[in-house]
Amino acid sequence: MRKLAFCANQSVKGRIADARGRLYRVALAWCGDPMLADDLVQETLANGIAKNHQLRDEKRLFPWLYSILNNNWRSYLRARKNHDELNDQLADDTAIGPRSNCQELELVEQVRAAVASLPLEQRQVIALVDLEEFSYCDVAQVLEIPIGTVMSRLHRARKNLLSRLSPPVAESGSGKNHMHIVK
């Protein structure tokens, strides 16, 4: 039994180590800085490996890892006193000027710049949903926010992203959600 537990433990550690690429994409979308993203991922992997025994359900590996990543990211921001980053309204008002500067950067860089100009909270949600294809419930759990907040941030993120990359998208109604989220 002890040998089996050891093997399982090694398997989880291996999967954690293999998660670097996925974690990096999301970390980069969150922070916009390749070096910082590397550091965040490195710390997340180290934390994950050290605390792998706390993972009760291996199927929840990635939500668990992203929770660690989120904690590390928040710790970093707190330490740097960048709390302003957490203010949606402020970030909305101070977004990077969308139609300035050079016209020659490639599409990928333009998208990254547009994402970087989103408020932090919107970046976090859109990265987890669109890159990781997490369910709204998983995102809510990882970021420790209500599912309704996930949905509203996601909507604002997409709307802002499109407005930064193209003419304004047609507005839709703003009624309450009438449907049931199943995932």
Binding site: A17, G21, Y24, R25, V26, L28, A29, G32, D33, M35, L36, D38, D39, E43, N72, S75, A79, R80, N82, I96, G97, R99, S100, N101, C102, E104, L105, L107, V108, E109, Q110, V111, R112, A113, A116, I126, A127, L131, E133, S135, Y136, G148, M151, H155, A157, R158, L161, L162, R164, L165, S166, A170, S172, G173, S174, N177, H178, M179, V182, K183
Partner: protein, 260 residues
């Protein structure tokens, strides 16, 4: 829920993200069938998803191997973060991205792609990506005529052309629906340097609406039109949009001098 008036933006987002149960999903699809504006909103949401995937899907860590921890994140200078945002903000030319590759007939993709095509990458006129995104039969004819002309020009095999379809353009490549199905099949079978690519997103959109896409055999369906076209442009291929081939004087023939 019988009216699209009851479908808010969060619900549309949940639909796009596959987060609705079967009943609600069916209700949204019914509403989409009845309302063009709602469809446009869904296409825009999908476009946003595609852009995020495009922007970060290929990002790779510079840390190929685990490296020694540098002593904690909080030691990094605060200025690094600010600098990184400033760096990424350079060259944010939002106005050049007026495309809607998964849109229900928007004709703005070409402009953006033409602009991208004009980027400082040496263009290869013997490598053409031909984009069609609407179901206008005149555009189908123009595109296929263009391919024929192209193949005659490069009969020695030195040229390569790809027809990429999304949105309504997908109909060109749908078995049993395309008015030029046999011609497409013949082109694929006859020429090794002609490819037809059907946008995976457009296919998915049809499937989500309960419509069987029925793509013609040997048409590639692995990528989105956006991914494929951008990749080709970055490699220096020439971008041609099918609708631009229509010459006002001839109405169904490739415009004289268009990229050939």
């Amino acid at each position: 829920m019988n009216s699209h008036d009851h479908i808010d933006e969060n619900t549309l987002g949940a639909f796009v993200d596959g987060q609705l149960n079967e009943a609600d999903r069916a209700a949204v699809i019914r509403a989409l069938d009845a309302n063009f504006e709602l469809r446009e909103q869904v296409y825009q949401l999908r476009r946003a998803k595609d852009l995020v995937k495009l922007g970060f899907g290929g990002a790779t860590s510079s840390a190929a191997k685990p490296r020694p921890w540098r002593g904690g994140l909080t030691r990094r200078p605060a200025v690094a973060l600010a600098a990184s945002f400033a760096m990424l903000g350079i060259g944010f030319s939002a106005g050049s991205l007026d495309y809607s590759l998964t849109g229900p007939g928007s004709m703005q993709a070409g402009q953006a792609m033409q602009e991208l095509s004009a980027a400082p990458v040496p263009q290869q006129t013997n490598h053409v990506v031909l984009h069609i995104e609407d179901s206008d039969p005149r555009h189908f004819i123009a595109a296929l005529n263009y391919v024929d002309t192209f193949m005659q020009r490069y009969a020695d095999g030195s040229g390569e052309i790809e027809v990429v379809a999304n949105a309504g353009g997908l109909d060109l490549m749908r078995a049993g629906l395309s008015p030029y199905e046999q011609r497409v099949v013949d082109m694929i079978n006859r020429h090794g340097n002609v490819s037809f690519i059907a946008c995976s997103n457009a296919i998915r959109n049809l499937e989500l609406q309960g419509i069987e896409p029925g793509i013609i055999s040997n048409v590639d369906t692995d990528e989105t039109a956006l991914q494929h076209i951008v990749g080709r442009l970055q490699s220096g291929w020439t971008y041609v949009k099918a609708e631009s081939l229509i010459d006002a004087r001839h109405n169904s023939a490739p415009a004289a001098g268009t990229a050939l």
